[in-house]
Amino acid sequence: MDVAKLQRQHVDLTHALFKEGFLDDQFTQLQQLQDSTNPDFVAEVVALFFEDTDRLLSELTRALEQDPVDYKKVDAYVHQFKGSSSSIGAHRVKVVCITFRTCCDEGNRQGCWQALQQVKHEFILIKSRLEVLLQLEQQILAAGGEIPFME
């Protein structure tokens, strides 16, 4: 496939992800840390984020199913999730985590359930978009091109 066309798609997708608030400048920081000596850095961090999130979402679901709910425990998981999403630049996920923590502070079970659903939804959205982005990068590199650099 035409490298320039792939690069154009990459630029357009990245631009959209930032514009729609899916990613923030922390993601750019990670991209800047990737170079020929560490060509898979972003993909590796993203993979860790996906694994970590799957684990945290299971734990959160389990914790919220308990009766009574241990809000301190729920909050601890959300705190972890907020941290990892912030470290990767997953902006919308992080924003929901902030609201989720407020619901924990208030002992608001209904609010917590809704926040969990919302954060699961946001994770599905960012995951699919990042998978497309990383796949484009692989295609660009396989075709001998350079990944476009966002300033």
Partner: protein, 194 residues
Amino acid sequence: MARTNISREIDAKKQLPSRAPVTPDIHVLAVDDSNIDRKVIERLLKTSSYKVTSVDSALRALEILGIEEGRSPSTANSFQVNMIITDYSMPDLTGYDLLKRIKENAGLKDIPVVIMSSENVPTRIKRCLEDGAKDFIIKPVQLEDVKRLSQHFSSTIKKSSGVVCSKRKQEIEDAQSRKIASRCPHVHELRVIA
């Protein structure tokens, strides 16, 4: 908002900020229970030419430093750690607890300790700086935060601890303001119906 820049020059990709001229044999011990944060801090430190050992707990850090229970003081710092950078919130021993243990140990108390936290709590920052932390980084950690670390290796200038604390606090606040200002402006307000 981030601008795109498809450059035809291959080297456009390699636009890392200029690296601080740090000697390659400065050994930093990074402590963080988050595997993602450990990976990021490792890469940030290695990019800045530090040698890095990363561990997932304060207890593990104490083992590396040779000050776990029952070890003799002569084993302290056999791994030649020159700086410790630690997360604040960790299960079991916190970064603050680790800081105290290091400062209580004659063989280790002069090693600069930097604390990281995702939470900007002024009383927490103040307490860490007053109790011996050289710096406090608000997460997410970025390259400019790591560049700031090199000053802790320069020759020490004797100052009153109060002056150092307030200067450091100003740097921490400035760094945080810069981070907030550079965030993506298109923040969507996500409403949770609670």
